[in-house]
Amino acid sequence: MNESLLLFSVITTLLYAVGTVGFLIYVIRTEKVIHRIAYGFLLAGFLSHTLGLAMLVSQIRQMPVTTLPQTFSLFAWAIVGSYLAFQLKFNIRILGTFVSPLAVVFMLLSSAIPGRVIPNSQLFKSFWLTLHVATMFIGMAIFALAFCAGIMYLLQERQIKSKSFGLLYRRLPSLEVLDSLNYVCLTFGFPLITIGFISGFVYAGAVWQSFWHWDPREILSVVTWLIYAVLLHERLAVGWRGRRAAIMAIIGFSVILVTFVGTSLILEVHHSFKLG
């Protein structure tokens, strides 16, 4: 990684961190200005992040997922990007308070983990892999939003049910809005990760002559897909909503985290980003 890339990564992390602090201040002092400033920092971080990624891509000439740090950085980028887009549509101001720390955590993970730069490999130059990476990352980022919405829902519901209202009661939006955010995330995220899985299998079949290797990441991925499939089905079929849907979204994303972060760090699996 050369110096300017490192610089971009540091600047991005700092901008995200300042944005996060802004969003935390916003919880205490609900003033539009504070929110706008925090949002601005996040947006600036996203632009610097995008520039950095663009430089990286032009350098390695493949998707920026060749090392674990790159992967985490790309995931942070996808989370912030989806948040910025969803915020424009939904305008749930407090959402930033829950989402931005996630981005900071992934940026820090990205810089804390040593990444071996692997030689330019033909393995990464495939249409299917590009599609797999793009859809999986955006899909997972949207599920990260659903995860935040789920936590917000549980917090808000507990206050309404128990009739004890804390600081967050006025800050958090209505249950209806949080539940529909859960649903919208599901309807966008599920098709994306489904395409991601299919393209992943096609790619694996083409490269390793076999679709399935029984490695932990593959198994957990299928579990993730099933969780969201069940949630979507139950929502549509019997009208699951509210607390249960929120809990499912939280579980789903937790499994994603284990799959994505846990297996990469702990296991040297077939699918590991380090090995490719």
Partner: protein, 442 residues
């Protein structure tokens, strides 16, 4: 100097029988209060009339004459003598009048403290006054200031953000569950006064339809007619839970009317859409276990009362902060008012000219080092006499203008023309903004 006077009555000083008399007469734009503009003792005037208050604000050079003229007019409207009306009226003068107007605009004086309608009502009343040309330099500035103070209080404190009645609290909660009440259906179980109030409040907040269930059908039909709703039989009550979203229960029944099991069974048919129970009956109508069902929320009268008390405590705290802002702003207005005198204006005009002159002379002399003392002296004298001659006519004009209304106007113009008030730019911006606002409103 003219005095600012505010005479009025409100829900604290006058019973509804008296307030309604004024409310009816004053809404009419051709009503007797329009005569304020013709009263000789008054210079500028403005009046505000809502169902809870009536305020007459004016400036007058002769304090006692002005007050008795306005009280006399009000007594005519009331149809009694001035002394019969006096106990219901309050009279504020100068700073106190300014403060009172600010408090009204900020909704600190309202029956429901923090309710937002009053500001709009003042703006409407002010537009009428400007159309009738009864307001002048002082009241224009005062009313514009009251709008910006109200805005300031609204953004700096949380005075307007909490509900202080049971119905408000219930609606606020409903909005935290449903986001908006448009398209929702409310079921009233029992048709008492409380239920009526709640129904009114729900409808005004957007609830689409009211369904009424009552043991005696006549009463249910009467309420249904009043709210343009429908009725449902007592035995079909539980079935109705499939369709409605908000239930207000207020029967005198000694036993619970709905059990948790009855509610749980209907949730599947509702596809788990949330249900919000408001149980204002004592003893309670709804099984408390209902609150444990997913997507069902139950609040009884004590729960709601708890919210109301919490909100009242918060408002009390916020109101103290608002009072502080108002006191500071009233002082600022007083400061401005003092500048509307001839002498201070002339003084600051001279000061400003002298500052400009000195600065320019210093600049020039620093470039011309070869000048003799005599020549420097000559330049000083030259510039001094130029400034003096230039200012002579404007100052004479200001001194000679004798009519008060014109004097206020010319002084105001002079201060603007020569930019004598440091905070002027800022205020002007505000005023532009406000006139834009009122354009939008009209």
């Amino acid at each position: 100097m003219d005095r600012i006077v505010l005479i009025g009555l409100n829900h604290k000083t006058a019973p509804v029988e008296i307030r309604e008399k004024f409310a009816v007469v004053c809404v009419d734009t051709s009503g007797p209060l329009m005569n304020l503009g013709q009263m000789r003792a008054l210079r500028e005037s403005f009046y505000l009339s809502t169902c809870n208050r009536m305020e007459v604000l004016f400036t007058t050079p002769r304090l006692d004459e002005g007050i008795s003229a306005v009280v006399g007019l009000l007594a005519d409207i009331y149809g009694q003598t001035g002394s019969a009306l006096k106990p219901y009226l309050y009279t504020y003068i100068d700073q106190d009048a300014v403060k009172h107007l600010y408090r009204v605009a900020c909704s600190l004086d309202s029956m429901v403290v923090g309710e937002p309608q009053i500001l709009g009502q003042i703006k409407d009343a002010y537009r009428q006054a400007t159309e009738a040309k009864t307001s002048g330099v002082i009241l224009n500035r005062l009313l514009h200031k009251s709008f910006s103070v109200a805005k300031l209080v609204r953004t700096e404190t949380r005075i307007g953000s909490s509900a202080v009645s049971i119905s408000y609290a219930a609606v606020e909660l409903a909005k935290k569950i449903f986001q908006e009440l448009q398209g929702r259906i409310a079921l009233l179980i029992g048709a008492g006064e409380m239920a009526e109030l709640a129904a009114e409040h729900l409808l005004s907040n957007g609830v689409e339809r009211i369904v009424i269930a009552n043991r005696t059908l006549e009463r249910a039909l009467a309420l249904a007619k009043r709210f343009n709703g429908t009725t449902v039989g007592w035995d079909e009550l539980a079935e109705e839970l499939r369709r409605v979203d908000i239930i207000v229960s207020s029967t005198g029944s000694p036993e619970p009317i709905l059990s948790a099991e009855q509610v749980r069974q209907r949730m599947r048919a509702r596809r788990n859409r949330p249900l919000f129970f408001i149980d204002i009956a004592v003893p309670r109508d709804i099984d408390p276990e209902v609150n444990r069902i997913d997507n069902v929320y139950l609040y009884n009268i004590d729960d709601l009362q708890g919210i109301v008390e919490m909100n009242q405590a918060e408002r009390f705290k916020e109101a103290a902060r608002a009072e502080h802002i108002i006191a500071a702003e009233a002082l600022k207005f007083d400061g401005w008012l003092r500048t509307l005198e001839v002498v201070p204006t002339i003084v600051s005009l001279r000061e400003k000219a002298e500052q400009v002159r000195e600065a320019e002379v210093r600049k020039t002399l620093s470039r011309l080092e070869s000048l003799s003392d005599e020549e420097v002296e000559a330049i000083e004298l030259l510039t001094q006499s130029m400034v003096k001659k230039l200012l002579h006519d404007p100052i004479l004009f200001l001194k000679r203008t004798s009519s008060r209304a014109r004097k206020d106007y010319y002084l105001d113009v002079a201060r603007k023309l020569f930019h004598l008030d440091l905070d002027r730019a800022e205020t002007e911006e505000e005023e532009d903004q406000l006139s834009l606002d009122s354009d939008k409103m009209s």
